[in-house]
């Protein structure tokens, strides 16, 4: 079984935005930053499970829409004095295509 699933094109996600992948194990948020890097996290803030896909993306982090926790897009960890971590998924770009690996 191949691990990498094609989930869409880079342009399907707005710059500094996010889109949701629905899976049997819950939602995954795929982010695109201003440098056109892509990241994927479990779509749940470690604080109170807020949907990170609806947050504001800046640099390599996203601010959760519920209580403003800042989460690293690279490792899913809460930044600043907050503590917690959400799941990270491997994601890669091949040309314009985005591939996601569900085995986190």
């Amino acid at each position: 079984m191949t691990d990498w699933i094609e989930v869409g094109q880079l342009n399907d996600i707005p710059k500094l935005g996010s889109r949701v992948i629905k899976t049997l194990n819950g939602d995954i948020a795929v982010f695109r930053n201003s440098q056109d890097e892509v990241f994927a996290l479990r779509d749940a803030c470690p604080h109170k499970q807020g949907p990170l896909s609806q947050g504001i993306v800046h640099g390599k982090s996203v601010t959760c829409p519920l209580h403003n926790w800042k989460i690293s897009l690279e490792n899913g960890e809460a930044l600043g004095p907050d503590e917690g971590c959400t799941g990270v998924y491997a994601v890669k770009l091949e040309g314009e295509k985005i591939f996601l690996n569900l085995n986190n």
Partner: protein, 812 residues
């Protein structure tokens, strides 16, 4: 290879600079620190509580040795720098160590001043400056009885209080007519003396020390008038002197302190200096708040960002003696050109004096009740015109229409008293975090404890806690930067957007030297609003710089679903609309249907992917977005007015609907609520709205700046007008003034308190021409950017912006 930074001085100013530097340019320097004391960096201002036995040394450590290791900083503790070779860029230490530097930071602080009277070198004569001094005093207190403290200033009284707590009998000797003459006037100084005497402290005022007597150790103090006091411990606390000996020795220009420019550079451009050792624009400082402002600027320039200048500080003082409340700031003595307002209640032990110059606070001294110190200080620093609040000034901020949390005296609360009701943070948690984590600012406390980080209504209490825990060392920065991405304030950024004709967010970043590549969740939303409101014809909205609610045109709820609230114009609805809402609720299984405070109906639990269909169904029956999710015009609440009510004087419902039709869809700095009541009984509660109309028989009273939320504030009566047309014009002008001038996320109530009601009245009422221009600009902005096109219809029927509502992919 990294550049080398050497820091001479391991105290609060030097290490704060290093901390700031590590935050903004962590990879730039290899850092070496020399500290003469054999410890890590500790909070010197909390030495008094240590002496008083209220805290331990461990409580006041700011940076332990582990911190230096973690940040790859080489610390030479207990090592004194003896020379600097400015040509070869090397420093030499007393252990023969030689270290090269590319940049050097001198933060040698200050030394206690010792009066050179005979006997000043006797064992038992000590100063009050560092841990070593505190250890000596604690030691002495174990065996000795009589202490004399020379100096009745802040430091002397804190030392005397500590020694008294340790069981000694203490006499404070002071040269001047009253205590703390640099911070207090004669009346408050006398009240302070009385309170301290009640605690058991003894005083000798107008006493000049001539000699310290003793044979091999201290035995007494002699005065110029011939009198004498027995003593087996003498603490000299008459003042501090900037420690400039090293700088002087290596030829750096010094006067009273090491002279620095506005970027904290000395006369040698490779050498910077911060803290108590510097002299900036002729002033030296002995409190912590200015040091921190210096540290920020210095770090910025060390990191080669080259922005930010230090303009000097205005400081305030609080005495850290438990049970004594004292606050002073600015020119509290006044002169022939100033006016005083004084409240004096000897029985309650309360004295308050505010010195006013040209309608602005020039200084204040408070004794016994210092709860409003922070507020007066803020008014003073921001040079707020107090003309409009002069009659209430002395009663404090709590009396400015604040029936929220005002009036609580935080110092009297128990440790388990809840301060932040949103996040459940108690007083003890906050005080603990301030001392154990070394916090100094409101932002620090918000980040570490979450207190005051949600609705903000406890901000004043948290500021009081900072103040009472840190004493005079806490202060709000004079000009708060918009966010951590920039040094600039809201007002400056907005002005530059206008002046430089900046029309996009990247333009702002570039022209104003933003520190982060694409801003943060705070500044992006503010900039999007400023650009949109400044350039309604040119700017195109950036959805990624809007909070999710405004991006999705619905309110996100705690489970990630949304609420949908259609507009009900002027609070009026029809059977058909109610049926439409009921149908949608049933069709989508929305069990929670709630009548809102703004006279409309909210549907809860809508999944994001269903929003466009929900909207379509509502649109089809004539309902449009209520903007309940936006920093925008929310609702216009009305009563039924003279159409039905036997008391109604005008058609308040009709005027409400007209106001709503005119203003709906407009983006604002914050949410904006209106109401129109048909008579002075005011059933629509127009006097707690941002803009309220109260109909009277002869016309319409217009009210502004009310708020029914966090902090209840009744409106100010703006004026009375005669016709509906005038109501609409004044409303448009007021809204536009608010849109153009308030800071992002500032409601009308605090905005009006900041700029002054008179200013608003002058702009909207007194100056007819300005009013018409404002109203015209509002009209233009309402015509641009599809402002009054229903955003729900665009995203349902018109198929705009669909991606966010559908998953990118469904797997499995």
């Amino acid at each position: 290879m990294k550049e080398k930074l050497v820091v001479i001085g391991n105290g609060m100013a030097g290490m704060r600079t290093v901390e700031e530097l590590l935050q903004i340019a962590p990879e730039k320097f290899d850092i070496t620190v020399f500290g003469a004391e054999p410890y890590g960096n500790y909070n010197r201002i909390l030495l008094s509580p240590v002496l008083a036995g209220e805290k331990t040394i461990n409580d006041i450590m700011l940076n332990d040795l582990q911190w230096y290791e973690e940040n790859n900083i080489t610390l030479h503790k207990g090592v004194k720098v003896t020379g600097i070779d400015r040509k070869k860029c090397k420093v030499t230490a007393d252990n023969d160590l030689v270290v090269d530097y590319d940049r050097l930071l001198i933060a040698t602080g200050s030394d206690p001043f010792i009066i050179p009277v005979p006997g000043h070198e006797l064992p038992g004569v000590i100063s009050f400056r560092d841990i070593h001094d505190v250890d000596l005093m604690l030691d002495a207190a174990k065996t000795k009885k009589h202490a004399v403290v020379i100096g009745g200033g802040l430091l002397g009284l804190e030392a005397a209080n500590g020694l008294m707590k340790q069981g000694m009998s203490v006499t404070v000797v002071h040269l001047m007519d009253w205590l703390m003459e640099r911070q207090m006037d004669e009346v408050s100084g006398a009240m302070l003396k009385k309170s301290l005497e009640e605690k058991g402290m003894q005083f000798m005022l107008k006493a000049s020390t001539s000699e310290i007597t003793g044979d091999g150790k201290v035995q007494g103090v002699k005065f110029t008038d011939g009198s004498e006091l027995a003593a087996d411990l003498v603490v000299m606390a008459v003042g501090i002197r900037p420690n400039i000996s090293l700088a002087k020795q290596v030829g750096l220009h010094c006067e009273r302190g090491i002279v620095v420019n506005d970027t904290m550079q000395t006369f040698d451009p490779k050498i910077y200096s911060v803290g108590e050792c510097v002299q900036h624009r002729g002033s030296t400082y002995g409190l912590v708040a200015p040091l921190f402002e210096m540290a920020k600027v210095c770090a910025n320039h060390l990191a080669a960002y080259g922005i930010g200048i230090y303009k000097g500080s205005i400081t305030s003082t609080k005495l850290k003696v438990t049970g004594i409340d004292l606050f002073s700031a600015g020119d509290f003595m006044g002169n022939e050109t100033t006016e005083d307002i004084v409240v004096r209640d000897a029985k309650r032990g309360i004295y308050k004096k505010i010195v006013i110059n040209d309608d602005k606070i020039a200084g204040a001294v408070l004794y016994g009740d210092t709860i409003d110190g922070a507020w007066y200080f803020q008014l003073m620093r921001e040079k707020t015109n107090i003309r409009d609040i002069r009659d209430q000034l002395m009663f404090g901020q709590a009396h400015l229409g604040d029936s929220g949390h005002g009036g609580n005296v935080v110092a009297n609360m128990s440790d388990d008293a809840e301060i932040c009701g949103c996040n459940g943070v108690c007083k003890g948690d906050i005080v603990n975090a301030i001392t154990s984590k070394g916090l100094f600012t409101l932002e620090d406390v918000r980040a570490h404890t979450k207190a005051s980080s949600s609705c903000g209504s406890c901000t004043g209490l948290v500021e009081q806690l900072l103040e009472s825990t840190l004493g005079g060392d806490y202060s709000v920065p004079e000009a708060k930067p918009l966010c951590a991405c920039t040094e600039h304030t809201h007002d400056y950024v907005r002005e530059e957007i206008r002046k430089q004709h900046l029309t996009s967010i990247p333009d702002v970043y570039k022209s104003l030297n933003w520190k982060s590549e694409d801003g943060c969740a705070s500044c992006r939303m503010a900039l999007n609003y400023y650009l949109l409101s400044t350039w309604p014809k040119e700017y195109s909205d950036d959805p990624q710089s809007r909070f999710i609610n405004e991006r999705a045109h619905a309110n996100i709820q705690k489970d990630g679903t949304y609420s949908v609230i259609p507009r009900m114009w002027g609070g009026m609805t029809t059977p058909n609309e109610l049926r439409a809402i009921a149908d949608v609720a049933e069709k989508f299984g929305l069990e929670t249907v709630h009548v809102t405070g703004g006279q409309r109906i909210g549907l809860y639990g809508v999944k994001k992917e269903n929003l466009p269909t929900v909207w379509k169904d509502l649109n089809d029956r004539g309902l449009v977005s209520g903007h309940a999710y936006g920093k925008a015009l929310r609702t216009v609440k009305t009563c039924v007015g003279r159409e039905w009510c036997r008391f109604g004087t005008q058609d308040s419902t009709a005027i409400g609907i007209k106001l709503e039709k005119m203003t709906w869809g407009s983006w604002m700095p914050h949410k904006f609520k209106m109401a129109a009541s048909g008579c002075p009984r005011n059933c629509a509660e127009a006097t707690i709205k941002d803009f309220g109309v109260v109909c009277v028989d002869s016309g319409y009273e217009l009210h502004i700046g009310g708020n029914g939320g966090v902090k209840v504030r009744a409106t100010d009566l703006l004026c009375k007008v005669n016709t509906e047309e005038e109501v609409l014009e004044y409303c448009a002008a007021f809204v536009q003034l608010y849109r153009e001038q308030a800071r992002y996320l500032e409601r009308t109530a605090p905005w009006i308190e900041r700029v002054g009601f008179s200013y608003v009245k002058e702009s909207v009422v007194d100056n007819a021409e300005k009013r018409k221009e404002l109203a015209a600009r509002f009209k233009i902005s309402q015509e641009e950017n599809e402002t009054q096109d229903d955003p729900w219809k665009m995203r349902s029927t018109d198929g705009r912006d669909q991606a966010q509502f559908i998953p990118l992919k469904v797997v499995g």
